[in-house]
């Protein structure tokens, strides 16, 4: 018995020793306490007049981050703002970062950076050199979202947003909705080095509600189209929607139109959509078929159509598909014919199916891309009516049934 006890106490001692050693073994030279870190939430990169770059970082202020909830609960902006922006200029990002470090008493830590914003001016001159840093440095993550800002990125990061704690978080949440494009650093690296030689990045802009306090909001607006790594043009919101359909990235979408033989609008809310690219090369002619299947709910009905009638629904489905076609065609004509920038994923698709033919055209893909014949085949399904079968607020006798 006594021996058993001894054994047990020995075991206990061993356990205490092993777990205790965990406390002291947590790092050597690279031990860093959290309150010695300046955590970067977002980085903005702009061009200066003398061709250097200006790096703007948004740093988290940990004390204020915790207090964010009280602030939100209506104490009326008494708390300090939870973030801080700092700038520095340099020839490279690391140089700017080390100059920045001189002004910040804590070690700049990139591990939590989730947003990278390029100013438009810089984007027009090429972004490749500046993307490199974020893939090279061991701390930043490839999941950071990348945006292009119409105005200077520094101004955008200074916005103190409503609802969210920081403009970085604001931008991240917007990206997650996928109303516009959502491009992570990984996606960017993939497309910038890929065969398409074109990149699309979401545009980001801000709007002040209170200029003095710099309070306001951000919104994702349109798409910046890059050739090689230089920004060439801009797609507005409408064209961006078409781009999303083609790239199979559309998640939230409402399509409204006036059905034939009816007055007023009907709105359809997208449930899910799937776009498939079917490349085909026949007798030297390159052709791409876009097969789009969408499923929608009816969200609003201003017309006098009675929706329980399957015939009406079938007609509506056809018109909805045609409407989506129309949007896509519009985007195609801009992107393919005017910009000649393959941000649609065609290059990869052809390369995967026809590697040999691709090999021959890859050096002049820009011209070839513009020549590719595109066919859009879309099919729409209306799945549900919502809560009203018949239009609301219209006298019975005015309703239309076929």
């Amino acid at each position: 018995m006594a021996q058993g006890y001894l054994h047990l106490s020995k075991k206990l001692l061993l356990i205490v020793f092993t777990w205790g050693s965990l406390l002291v073994l947590s790092g050597c030279w690279d031990r860093v306490e959290i309150n010695d870190l300046a955590i970067v939430l977002a980085a903005g990169i702009d061009k200066t007049e003398d061709d250097q770059i200006e790096l703007t970082v948004q740093l988290a202020i940990p004390n204020q981050m915790g207090g964010g909830q009280q602030q939100g609960s209506g104490s009326g902006g008494q708390g300090e703002k939870p973030t801080l922006t700092k700038q520095a200029t340099g020839t490279t990002i690391s140089e700017a970062a080390s100059i920045l470090q001189q002004k910040v008493p804590r070690r700049i830590f990139w591990g939590h950076n989730t947003v990278i914003v390029f100013g438009k001016e810089l984007a027009e001159g090429g972004i490749r050199e500046y993307v490199e840093f974020f893939a090279h440095h061991p701390e930043p993550r490839l999941r950071s979202f990348v945006f292009v800002s119409e105005e200077r990125a520094s101004a955008l990061l200074e916005v103190i947003p409503y609802l969210e704690q920081s403009s970085s978080q604001f931008a991240r949440e917007l990206a997650r909705f996928q109303i516009g494009l959502r491009v992570t650093l990984k996606d960017l690296l993939e497309s910038i080095s890929g065969g398409a030689r074109a990149v699309a990045l979401p545009g980001l802009e801000y709007e002040y509600e209170n200029v003095k306090e710099k309070k306001g909001g951000l919104n994702i607006n349109g798409t910046a189209v890059f050739k090689e790594d230089k920004m060439e043009g801009y797609l507005d919101d409408r064209l961006t929607r078409g781009l999303l359909w083609i790239r199979n990235e559309v998640h939230l979408a409402t399509v409204s139109f006036t059905p034939e033989n009816a007055d007023g609008y009907m709105s359809f809310k997208l449930l899910r959509s799937n776009t498939q690219l079917h490349p085909e090369i026949k007798d030297g002619k390159w052709k791409m078929t876009l097969a789009i299947t969408t499923e929608d709910d009816i969200e609003e009905n201003q017309t006098d159509l009675v929706l329980t009638d399957p015939k009406i629904i079938a007609e509506l489905e056809e018109q909805l598909a045609a409407k989506i076609d129309e949007r896509i065609e519009e985007t195609l004509s801009t992107v393919q014919k005017e910009m000649k920038a393959d941000v649609l994923g065609f290059a990869k698709s052809f390369e995967q199916k026809y590697p040999d033919e691709w090999e021959q055209v890859k050096d002049r893909w820009e011209e070839k891309f513009a020549e590719v014949e595109i066919e859009v085949v879309s099919k729409a399904y209306i799945r549900r009516l919502g809560m009203s079968t018949q239009p609301q607020g219209i006298p019975e006798e005015e309703m239309k049934e076929e």
Binding site: W29, D30, A135, R143, T184, L189, E190, S193, Q352, K353
Partner: protein
């Protein structure tokens, strides 16, 4: 000398990290460099080398049961050439372990502990492994048995967490440039698979020797699956082109994991399996080196050699290699040829000579 015994299954657990621990961090990038989107084929081709060396090691042990290669090379080709060959093996395993330690330390310092001096990382892991080896083969076997299941589970979980971000279409076009790129891509991994020849040092201590063949193959299959899973995950996530550009693509992939913005920042798990796996790997290889040295010198005990040779391994891993690039170049292009000669061609010749001699008698 060594009175401890291990079971065949323990041997399988020991061999798994020997191959995969350093393999999964540096192999994907190298295979992607040659084979691009066919990088998943390379491990399959390379695993044939594993089958071959396991066969050779088992056959040789069948002819000379209870002996390691250091002992039977003397029986096969005579005293002086046999001793010379034994020295080549010791030299090889010393360098192999030094290379492994260096890969480990370069990864740890490059990705996490940037300011910690290299020799601190090198000597701490070697010290721990040396203690395990000093405890005997049973200690090494049991630590492998304890650690490897966690290793496999964590690796599997990490691959599964990536599923949402994977794009299987990246696998196309399959074999667009023929088989040659994937064969070239298999050249480096073949040397990792050839490390299965290390069982030539373990077989004498296996209790249930009749099961050794089965368990070696199970271990080989598990290694192949591990390589396939990582290579495919990386290919589906990054594509061949991007994988090649990263130094440690697996780490980048794991850092990409983000489930509902909640399950993220998982690289500490990579670090955990990395340290644990390397510990077992170094211990197993170090055991082979130490027991081999003792047999080569006809000593009665191998334990006093453990720490001096561990120290030597650490020294060799920095001796003449001033940078990570040099070390990576050695491991990626020089070591495979060295391994091909020492772990495949020479054993094959030994086997042929041994069979011919036995027939003569």
């Amino acid at each position: 000398m060594e009175t401890g015994k291990i079971s065949a299954s323990q041997m399988a657990f020991m061999m798994y990290p020997v191959v995969i621990a350093t393999g999964i961090v540096i192999i994907p990038s190298i295979t992607a460099n040659y084979a691009a989107q066919d990088m998943w084929l390379s491990p399959i081709l390379a695993s044939l080398m594993g089958v071959l060396v396991i066969f050779i090691a088992l056959k040789l042990h069948q002819l000379y049961p209870g002996h390691t290669i250091i002992e039977y090379s003397v029986s096969i080709i005579g005293k002086v050439p046999g001793k010379l060959l034994g020295f080549i093996y010791l030299y090889f395993y010393l360098l192999m372990n030094a290379g492994g330690t260096r890969i480990y330390a370069d990864f740890v310092t490059g990705a996490f502990f940037k300011e910690t001096p290299l020799f601190v990382i090198l000597s701490t892991i070697m010290l721990v492994s040396s203690f395990a080896v000093r405890g005997g083969i049973e200690v090494v076997g049991r630590s492998a048995e304890m650690i490897v299941p966690f290793y496999v589970i964590i690796l599997t979980i990490l691959c599964f967490l990536l599923v949402a971000d994977l794009n299987p279409k990246n696998i196309f076009p399959i074999l667009s440039d023929g088989l040659m790129p994937s064969i070239k891509g298999a050249y480096t991994p073949q040397s990792w698979f050839a490390e299965f020849f290390l069982i030539a040092f373990l077989l004498p201590y296996v209790k249930d020797i009749q099961k050794a063949g089965k368990w070696s193959m199970i271990s080989l299959g598990a290694v192949l699956l591990g390589f396939l899973a990582t290579n495919l995950s990386l290919l589906f996530l990054f594509g061949g082109e991007l994988t090649e550009r990263f130094n440690y693509p697996l780490l980048d992939a794991v850092r990409y994991i983000s489930i509902a913005e909640f399950i993220q920042h998982l690289e500490s798990l990579v670090m955990a399996i990395w340290v644990a796996g390397t510990f077992v790997k170094l211990a197993v290889v170090h055991f082979a080196l130490v027991i081999g040295t003792a047999q080569w010198l006809n000593l009665s005990d191998y334990k006093p050699l453990v720490f001096p040779l561990g120290f030597l391994t650490v020294l060799v891993s920095i001796w003449g290699i001033s940078s990570e690039m040099e070390s990576a170049h050695y491991s990626g292009t020089i070591f495979p040829s060295f391994s091909l000669v020492v772990q495949t061609i020479i054993p094959l010749l030994l086997l042929v000579i041994a069979i011919l001699r036995k027939k003569h008698h």
